[in-house]
Symmetry: C2
Subunit: 509 residues, 2 copies
């Protein structure tokens, strides 16, 4: 039951309604923005109700805007009933129905740098936002929204939405109040600096401005975020983390990094979490994060006194870590700041702070281009997310991944990436369990030798060197043998392993 | 003869020496930074003397740092005698000996986003700078340097150089004094905002700080910059410019661009110049530029009262336009600001001002990736330059090019770019003489259809559609037929035209 600590003005109670009624506010063809970022702080009940209505025969296909991928109550529920016409700016492989719809071309998915969407909506590039569905912890006396643990693009959706639906979720702790720092940046020619000079700096308010009149419906919810527990770090991941720590300490010894480490950014997923945990186990002290997402390891590092300040647009605590938060919210509230996505990922702030960007690619090539999104160049796996925002603007840009996948059938290092998301100009360092390739200042031929020798798995090194030798016959600044550039990918598709050469009898792909 | 208007402290005269003596300060293996940006404001005499010494038998291979490509007195003179070991951050095809050295792999060339080099030097990523050779218009009483028309990375080279050599060039007009706005940005964690809120804002000084004691040699010069006259606009370029103007006005009508146009950035070369000239002939008024390089068209637009303010890191007037500058320097001094490259191309300022980025690619593909650098994926043509800095951070990012080259043998639109410099995430609009493809908000399949229909030449449309149809058989979010992705490039290499299919008898490339 919603009480006055969750709805802080009497008039708000009159707006409580059912999810079914709220879902009826969403019509076919509408553009709908949802709160949240990854399975954190996203609405659940209204989209489940909408999906049920569509399943029961109502025609409704929407354009779905979010911060990033959100939970199954949105992604799968709507995709399973074909209720999504368009999707942006991010999608993650864990949502099967959405994945199938996107890869079949039924859902028109636009994969974007995450820092770009909010300003583009503000400037009218995406047309009107008809409805915003926001999960809130509470609504203030003024009708403003106290968000859950994921901010994403919510402030911009609320600014533009003709209709605002709020799910007040009693499963989200009220102690989240005060952790947010919400600001809407002006449009050009009225933009000013973003006055963030340290990860913990605050420039806005703790609420998303809305106003009671603009709230069309309030729906009570108690469905918890569907945060999955992360896999424990594998031995290879532990080695990758150790390689990263050694590299950072080497940079400190060379005077290229200050003794008080610059702010870190770490991507999504188990590799990123393992890498951050590895940093925590090192003797590096007094760390800060200016990142997109704050996963479990950040909480461990705060509790251990290793991390002073951490800024993100969301945090995604597993159930165990959420319990820890509830037990000592003051500790985490002091250390954490949750911002809108266009500020957490803003090139101005990333470059100013000198963020050390650490992300995980699907594959990278001998010359240093990276694929973050498409397996085999065609199938969307995960969106590019914020990796480009950070890699392009970071003080150091580092990709970390295992050298192989699928028991060695896939080499993460290939002659040429089958889909470029980051170019050779954007990455300084590659790290696998095999070692570290620091390619700063190298020309393409040198980069290729260092990447193969230091990062590729021994199983694939001879093949990569053979490609380079063949490419060298044609010469040029960056030698390529275009007719063979996708040999690894074609081998995999035709014969099940990147080093299993196709035979003439194989069907031509 | 150097006089006291050029050397403003008596002690400076004692440092005058010959180019040969100055060249002797440069030893084998040294890292040498030169002033200038494109054939504008670069030193000439010392490098010519060094090249002559090497030709006569002295062993000297240097690491050459600059702002961008510079003139033949550096690029060709040094490359012809094999005196360049490394080169960064930019190179342009017009310098034949440098081109050959880079493509043969004799010269280790690192192609970089231009905004990146200065801060990376400051942070120690490139090792020490041994020598800076700076062309100056004059040296002040304090020993500080008044630069010519190209700033580039000169302030950072001078900051770090152990030895500073100054060429004082009497062929450069003294009226350049006062046009520069020089600031050196701090390193993290001490960075603050860059307080530029309009293209004409000034944040620094008009000189590069140096000091008399640090000047090891002064060499007199009177060699003019080797600025080539640009080709007059072709009919296709006129059509491209008209398409751009129409697009911008359409955006104004839709309310997505303000009536007072946002600042423009325009790349290097004749297409860029033609596009800018086309803007000048439109009824758009009160234009500003926040750009890297300011070519002839900018001067015309200033004289015509169309451009109020123009910021760049260099201007490159042809001989005719230089005469115009000399005739009324006050007019241009009011309108122009010359900045260091890391400020002219800084993502913070570009995004804040809402710059409309307009650049020219070598080729782009059906899904919106662009190649700015490598023909056939292997041979370096021109570096990426600042295009990435602007395209990634611009309010609008626009690529403009002809749909074909070499009498139609080359299609600028290909199934897959053979070298990615800009990914599909970074480009919003493509313009050729055929039309405009506005791909904002489209998914890959939609992008491909719009790009082929609106931008590709009719000769190549059926082939591109055939590729897409074949790719569609395999499906996926962004369908590719990897075995055929470089068919256009292989046709060109084997048979001389992108639409001339190779026959089995052709040698496998």
């Amino acid at each position: 039951m919603l009480t006055t600590d969750r709805l802080r003005h009497p008039d708000l109670f009159a707006r409580i309604t059912t999810a079914d009624v709220a879902a009826n506010l969403i019509a076919d063809g509408m553009s709908v923005g949802v709160s949240g970022f990854t399975p954190s702080g996203y609405p659940k009940k209204v989209t489940l109700a909408l999906a049920a209505a569509v399943k029961a025969g109502r025609r409704c296909r929407i354009n779905l805007f979010s911060g990033a991928s959100v939970g199954p109550e949105i992604e799968n529920a709507l995709a399973e009933v074909d209720a999504v016409a368009r999707r942006t700016p991010y999608y993650a492989a864990s949502n099967a129905a959405m994945r199938e719809g996107i890869n079949a071309g039924r859902i028109a998915y636009t994969d974007q740098h995450l820092s770009h969407l909010a300003p583009q909506i503000d400037c009218g590039f995406w047309g009107p936002i008809d409805v915003a569905i926001v999960e809130a912890v509470a609504i203030t006396r003024e009708g403003d929204l106290i968000l859950g643990p994921g901010v994403g693009n919510t402030p911009m959706f609320v600014k533009h939405a003709k209709t605002v639906i709020v799910e007040v979720n009693t499963a989200q702790p009220l102690e989240l109040e005060g952790m947010h720092d919400i600001a809407i940046l002006p449009k050009p020619p009225f933009r000013r600096e973003i006055p963030i000079y340290a990860p913990g700096d605050r420039i806005g308010e703790t609420v998303v401005r809305c106003g009671i009149e603009r709230i069309a419906a309030i729906v009570e919810s108690d469905i918890p975020d569907r945060v999955r527990n992360l896999e424990p770090a594998s031995p290879d991941q532990v080695r990758m983390a150790a390689n990263l720590v050694e590299f950072l300490k080497h940079e400190q010894r060379k005077g290229r990094l200050p003794q008080r480490m610059l702010p870190l950014q770490s991507g999504v997923g188990s590799i990123a979490n393992a890498v951050l945990a590895g940093l925590g186990q090192s003797d590096l002290e007094d760390l800060t994060l200016y990142s997109e997402i704050l996963q479990d390891a950040v909480f461990e590092l705060i509790a251990a006194g290793k991390v002073r300040q951490a800024s993100g647009c969301a945090f995604t605590p597993s159930p165990a870590v959420l319990a820890r938060f509830r037990a000592d919210p003051e500790l985490y509230r002091r250390a954490l700041v949750l911002r809108p996505l266009d500020i957490s990922n803003h090139p101005e702030v990333i470059r100013r702070l000198g963020v050390i960007a650490i992300n995980t690619p699907l594959e990278f090539d001998v010359y240093g281009n990276a694929n973050s999104t498409h397996t085999g160049g065609t199938r969307m796996m995960n969106g590019i997310g914020g990796s480009g925002d950070y890699m392009r603007n970071g003080y150091l840009s580092i990709f970390v991944t295992e050298s192989t996948a699928r028991d060695g059938a896939i080499s993460r290092i290939v002659p040429m990436v089958a889909h470029p998301d980051h170019t050779e100009h954007d990455v300084m360092v590659f790290i696998t369990e095999q070692g570290v390739a620091d390619v700063r200042g190298l020309d393409p031929r040198e980069r290729a030798q260092v990447i193969v020798a230091n990062c590729a798995h021994p199983r694939y090194r001879p093949l990569l060197l053979d490609y380079l030798k063949d490419a060298e016959r044609l010469g040029g600044h960056e030698p390529q043998a275009l007719a063979r550039a996708f040999e690894f990918h074609l081998n995999l598709a035709r014969r099940g392993a990147m080093d299993r050469a196709a035979e003439p009898a194989d069907a031509l792909l």
